[in-house]
Symmetry: C2
Subunit: 403 residues, 2 copies
Amino acid sequence: MTPPSRHITLKDLARELGVSTASVSNAFNRPDQLSPRLRERILSEAQRLGYQGPDARARTLRTGRSRIIAVVLAETLTYSLNDAVSSELLTGIAEVLDDHGHTLLLLSGRQPGSRQTSGTASMADGFIVYGLMPSAMLLNELPAQRPLVAVDFNIDGQPMVHIDNEPASHAIACYALATPPRRIGVLALRLTETPCNGRVTEEQPWLTAERTITRARLDGFHRAFEEHGIDPAAVPVWNIEENTHDICAPVIASILDLPDDERPDLLLCMSDRIALTALTLAEQRGLRIPEDLRLTGFDGIAEGQYRSPRLTTVRQDSTEKGRITARMILGLVPAEPSLLATELIVGESCPYRVTFGLTNPATQSLRCTANLGGNGAGRRPLGGVIDRVIEDHADNPLNLDIA
Amino acid sequence: MTPPSRHITLKDLARELGVSTASVSNAFNRPDQLSPRLRERILSEAQRLGYQGPDARARTLRTGRSRIIAVVLAETLTYSLNDAVSSELLTGIAEVLDDHGHTLLLLSGRQPGSRQTSGTASMADGFIVYGLMPSAMLLNELPAQRPLVAVDFNIDGQPMVHIDNEPASHAIACYALATPPRRIGVLALRLTETPCNGRVTEEQPWLTAERTITRARLDGFHRAFEEHGIDPAAVPVWNIEENTHDICAPVIASILDLPDDERPDLLLCMSDRIALTALTLAEQRGLRIPEDLRLTGFDGIAEGQYRSPRLTTVRQDSTEKGRITARMILGLVPAEPSLLATELIVGESCPYRVTFGLTNPATQSLRCTANLGGNGAGRRPLGGVIDRVIEDHADNPLNLDIA
DNA sequence: CTGAAAGCGCTTACAG
DNA sequence: CTGAAAGCGCTTACAG
């Protein structure tokens, strides 16, 4: 009958039914607080009148809970949404939030934070902060006293979820050095305090390990170099400002275009995106992988395994990282520092032993799990060894022995 | 002094300052409504007392506007966040929202929509619905009377943003058929009404063009076939259920493993992901591209252009699609059906003329812009021709003449 | 099991 | 330019 003139509210519905607003509210929120019969009557009448249920805006104000969790991304949304690692993290976060009736609000820390946007931030019940913020500004604009979890970098006094960057980097470098290279190159990601897209010179100050995962990865490489009698200072480092093909390409081109006697034959890359770009550019130049150039990545993104040659890399389970973070922000697990294990994936871009003329490169593959500590083991990365080897091909047993 | 016992509100601040709540509100929201001196006093006192500004939850209830736009994704969030095309769409949406002080809430249409999640949906000021919903259920749960824009599929009575699928598919098929293939295969994406991951049989009913972009793409292929004297019914169609490597791979493997005299030498794929999977599997089998197998994609994602051979494909500007959609939902442009143009990108996976033994495959590349109608040209795809050719390499002029 | 009432924190006509 | 007051739509003790 009465077509909803404009907008029907809980109060209207209660009046229409001749019951109290409390009963209508309970019909939707607390079935145990009223008789099934009344509840049924309320719900069916609601449907008939086109009442969709209590307004989230009012519920939020009243209860103080919006069921929204904000993810504050250090990078631009453009980057974060198109990067495999951030996407996986968001996937894990979204999965857990969804399972618990929460939704995901995306915020970017890159723009200064117009008052409007940071005002909206105060809708969220909690905050997940991913990656190093360009400035502390945005963090200050976040409402205090609400739960916050940091991912991949440290905020004083806040719980943190991260991976064992230093041991993982150490492990993959040791693995690669098992076949002695002639010349090594390191490709770092946002290592320097001031932007630098290219060869890093001695005088450039580096970010501290507290502030960037890159530093911890470099520390792992350097420890491996020292253990193999290589002077870390003698290994050139190139820096990449953003983990995208377009930014990587010129730096890598400059390396690959070096004369044969200066070009590294082993590139340790701090991300799979960097390694994949190097792979593409190397192929374009007719360089043979792995004979002329060996490459290692970091992250273990799908794209690196769905092509030939596959990347040798460290796999981090970003999805699981997201899940843990989300559980923490929802209070499903204690908000304690959490450290995730990583896994060494051996592909053809840097095989265990470089063998020429293999007919089927797949037989060179194996997968190693680096059980380096795992969750909740404290804030500091643990030392550890690769202690398990899973072979893809039983007919080609290999034993890795990497300290 | 008085450390904020728990939580300071606008009212507290007004009392502390001896001004009305209206003045405090105006200090934050409407600078022109009070003297600069008073505003200054209010803002500095706010800062001193740790008042972060008006609470978004209360503002939202009072004003009826949350500055949140929800994107309802037909696929799971896992898929959408990891798929290049959806990511680009979200990127475009986020960019415009951000510029206008709005934020992005992600919802998935895949799960039935627990009451909690769909309750939260009612926070949003507007809805962007992307892709065909598995059921109409979720749409009904969305609050009526709030703006809604559909992307890539039709909801009766709602504005829609989409691309010219049929003409674009027609164009790329005509282009590929310029070199006569021996056998063609079509790889479709979610074409059938009931799930089918593999060869499509005659009796399987197809979704209508209204409901899926796939159908329009197939129609474009078929028109091209007919124009080239090929009976569409004689061209086999394989269906892919999800646009991911893992789901594509077995279907494509089954095609590539056909005997030489049954295997297609031209695969028209409805997405770049499908084409890239085919490329990888073909390479693993030692098939030469393009001599043994030519491939075309659809979408123009970066991954298809950052490898060798590059994909021949139709580029759609998903980012721009997102921008237009976001402007529409914010009311910055009229909420009218919008049709975006696409572009034919010619890579080495299906070159213009198949020439054997080219030393530099890059010289075979060119790029064609298919100006097929553009924005706001009405709800139905327009016919049209590729009317502009941009050459990557001036030393290798090519003229395309595709009707 | 049900109903009357307070109040979440804000914005906005409106009167001064 | 400023202040007093209503009310956005709901939830939740609390009394019955």
